[in-house]
């Protein structure tokens, strides 16, 4: 039991950090620009594909740098030539623009790499067990993933709270005219923010691509969970995103280990439930079975108890 608990905790932390990695760029863009980038998961997917492609051409380590940079450039282009022109039509139009973009990116990826998953396997340099815990090995690439995820948090935290440019960016969100009047290039700052957010998504894609499947449906597969994390954490809050990621990662992992259902609870309470009872299906769902929908349940509960999310400040 202790073994399973320890391994589960480790798995939960790994999954939580993966989620954080996925959401960090999204949180950055939202907190700075107030734009919910629906295409974020798609940029993540592009990162996975680009790293696969570059790794084949120039090797893994260069790809780890080039792919995120390329995603950053793509992000900058999206902001400069697309989003900026939609901005005047309001937030709904912005969300819809990124929503449409997600559609297009999926098809573009299909056009370039085909419909099947590509063989984006873990490169040999990081494909070894880092250590062993109760007989379960822990692969090195997951260790790298954890390190990058934590590095992302530190980078964002320092960049936003401790540097001049970060303070200027935050001011640009609330008082664009004022910041503009002070001689800062506000549109330029927005391009930069979008580029950095996209580069973070791309970086997440490089590593996440190993854990998930690099195929055109990747963005759809992870999109919803990413958005759930940011809502639970409080949209735009970096700390909230981290806490929510870890919370979901650990809760979900431990839920998998629980083989009991409501049925057991009812029976333990002396209530007779048979197959003929209404909602028998519902009672007999084991917690483990429902584990992957834990985040969604958490989302609804959070809204009832604390509608602005864990660390949410602004009412958006």
């Amino acid at each position: 039991m202790l073994e399973l608990a320890t391994v589960s905790l480790l798995n939960g932390i790994v999954y939580g950090l993966l989620l954080f990695m996925l959401t960090s760029g999204l949180t950055l863009i939202f907190s700075m620009m107030g734009v919910l980038n629906f295409a974020h998961a798609s940029v993540f997917m592009v990162g996975a594909y680009l790293s696969y492609q570059f790794a084949r051409w120039v090797g893994f380590w260069p790809a780890l740098v080039i792919a995120p940079l390329a995603c950053g450039l793509i992000g900058a282009a999206i902001e400069r030539y697309g989003l900026r022109h939609v901005h005047k039509s309001g937030h709904v139009a912005e969300i819809l623009f990124t929503f449409g973009l997600a559609y297009l990116i999926e098809e573009l990826v299909t056009m370039i790499w085909g419909r099947n998953a590509v063989a984006n396997s873990v490169p040999a340099v990081i494909d070894f067990p880092l250590f062993s815990l109760f007989g379960s090995s822990f692969p090195a690439y997951k260790g790298l993933m954890m390190a990058i995820s934590i590095a992302m948090f530190v980078f964002l935290y320092v960049a936003l709270k401790r540097t001049r440019i970060g303070l200027v960016i935050q001011a640009a969100l609330t008082h664009p005219q004022m910041v503009g009047a002070l001689g800062h290039d506000v549109p330029g700052i927005f391009v930069l923010v979008f580029a950095v957010g996209s580069a973070l998504a791309g970086l997440a894609g490089v590593i996440g691509g190993f854990m998930l499947l690099t195929q055109p449906t990747l963005a759809n597969a992870i999109g919803p969970i990413v958005f759930v994390v940011v809502v639970i954490g409080g949209l735009g809050s970096l700390g909230g995103a981290l806490i929510a990621s870890m919370l979901i990662g650990i809760l979900q992992t431990f839920a998998v280990a629980i083989d009991y259902s409501l049925l057991d609870a009812l029976r333990a309470a002396g209530i007779a439930v048979t197959r003929a009872s209404p909602l028998y299906d519902f009672y007999s769902i084991k917690v483990a079975t429902a584990a992957p929908i834990v985040p969604y349940v958490l989302l609804v509960l959070m809204l009832i108890v604390r509608p602005r999310g864990l660390m949410g400040k602004r009412d958006v």
């Binding site: 939202f30 919910l36 697309g82 022109h85 939609v86 039509s89 937030h91 709904v92 139009a93 969300i95 819809l96 623009f97 929503f99 449409g100 973009l101 559609y103 297009l104 999926e106 098809e107 573009l108 299909t110 056009m111 370039i112 790499w113 085909g114 419909r115 919803p224 958005f227 759930v228 940011v230 809502v231 949209l235 028998y280 299906d281 519902f282 769902i285 079975t289 429902a290 992957p292 929908i293 985040p295 969604y296 349940v297 989302l299 609804v300 809204l303 009832i304 509608p307 958006v316």
Partner: protein, 435 residues
């Protein structure tokens, strides 16, 4: 000082037409619905089935627009109410098949009731927030419901869904719903009733307050209304009509499966509504018809149809945020002006280079798709009645030349269009002044 010239999409405060005009519009719509399935091309099973599907989609999209266009709420999970309404209806139909004495054409009422029930239930949670968070919550609830349909197979029937027969039940006025034509008329009747009710809803006090909440929720609080409550009422109403659409879906297909609550369907209704135009009541209907048709037919021509659809959607967002309805209706003030013909002529002039540009783009997209997804079919293909070989640089070069030259000429035509428009609007304002 703000500009006095209104952008066309700004005037979404559609003036209420007179009683005569209104009743003429509705009678006209009903007449069109009556003859549509007899028009050559639509008078076979497939055509009628497509029309039925359009009608269902139109009700669904109109209900979505109660949220998006009327109340300013962007939902990514509207299919939940559609699907749950569909399940309720198909279960009622099963009961009818087993002897419950209710005519099948009334079964969608069960869908409407279920849609309302869940609209009230989930609405009480989701409408606590607005804007971006609201959008994300609806997304989450959609995922939750979708996952649940697989977990509770006794009600949702798992992956194969729930089937029922629409013909086994008491016939209403001699209709047994066997032929698609009868199904179409049931759909059309419900669709026009639902559209009229939704139109009426936008003209009630709470409907007006929905518009006010969309425009400025903060101010609404200072004229006595609780914005959450207004959103909640709109959400419940939207749930009701979505459920009705789901009920019609159940009658039309005699099967309801998990895909009916899926995120894909929620996304589709969003595309339909937005492409049609959120600012006009008729917008979602246009969007539903166009997208249903594209989905059913475009996919028969090219496997890249999703890509074209995405491009179309993006083009609407960037260039025509008022949607197709907005594009069409912005011509209304000038249609009787002498200069309208100049506008049409300018359109024709602009159309030619735009077409060249579009063909160039299509050639490139089709060749890329062929090379990446169907390499075995070889590089030779037939596009626009021309044999080309994607392995040679010529078609690519030609396509690029078409795009670039088309674009250059196209840009040159913009002033012509603008000038014609200018003249027409001047005439229109002079005419308005004379009146």
């Amino acid at each position: 000082m703000k500009s006095v010239a209104a952008a066309p999409e700004m005037t979404s405060a559609e003036p209420t037409p007179s009683w005569m005009t209104r009743s003429r519009t509705w009678v006209g719509a009903a007449a069109i619905l009556l003859v549509l399935p007899h028009i050559p091309g639509l008078n076979a099973d497939f055509g009628r089935s497509l029309l039925s599907q359009m009608g269902i989609a139109a009700v669904f999209a109109l209900s979505f627009n109660l949220l998006l266009g009327q109340t300013g709420l962007l939902s990514f999970g509207h299919a939940v109410y559609f699907g749950l309404g569909g399940y309720a209806t198909v279960h009622l139909m099963r009961a009818i098949n087993h002897g419950l004495p209710v005519p099948v054409p009334l079964a969608p009422l069960a869908g409407a009731a279920t849609g309302l029930l869940f609209g009230v239930l989930f609405g009480s949670v989701t409408t606590r927030r607005a804007g971006t968070i609201f959008a994300l919550i609806t997304l989450g609830i959609g995922e939750l419901v979708y996952a649940t349909t697989f977990m509770l197979p006794s009600y949702f029937g798992g992956e194969e869904g729930i089937t029922a027969s629409r013909t086994r039940g008491p016939a209403l006025l001699g209709f047994d719903l066997g032929p698609q034509l009868q199904v179409y008329y049931v759909v059309a009747l419900w669709a026009i009733i639902a559209a009229a009710l939704m139109y009426a809803f936008t003209r009630t006090p709470v409907g007006r307050m929905c518009n006010a909440v969309r425009d400025n929720p903060e101010r609404v609080e200072f004229v006595g209304y609780n914005t959450q409550r207004v959103r909640f009422v709109a959400f419940s109403a939207a749930g009701l009509f979505a459920g009705l659409a789901g009920g019609l879906h159940a009658i039309n297909y005699e099967i309801v499966a998990a895909d009916s609550v899926s995120a894909l369907r929620s996304g589709t209704v969003l595309l339909m509504t937005y492409i049609g135009g959120v600012g006009r009541f008729i917008g979602p209907v246009i969007g539903a018809a166009v997208l249903t048709w594209l989905q059913a037919s475009l996919s028969g021509y090219t496997s890249a149809w999703l890509f074209y659809l995405g491009l179309f959607f993006m083009a609407i967002i960037v260039f025509a945020p008022a949607g197709l309805a907005g594009l069409i209706l912005m011509h209304r003030p000038i249609i009787r002006m002498p200069a309208f013909w100049r506008v049409l002529r300018a359109y024709a002039i602009a159309f030619a280079p735009a077409l060249v540009m579009t063909i160039g783009a299509i050639v490139i997209i089709e060749m890329s798709y062929r090379l990446s997804t169907q390499p075995e079919l070889g590089t030779r293909m037939r596009l626009f009645w021309t044999d080309i070989d994607a392995a040679t640089p010529w078609p690519w070069l030609a396509a690029v030349v078409m795009i670039v030259s088309g674009f250059v000429v196209f840009r040159k035509t913009w002033p012509i269009v603008a000038q014609a428009w200018q003249q027409a609007t001047t005439e229109a304002s002079v005419a308005a002044g004379a009146r």
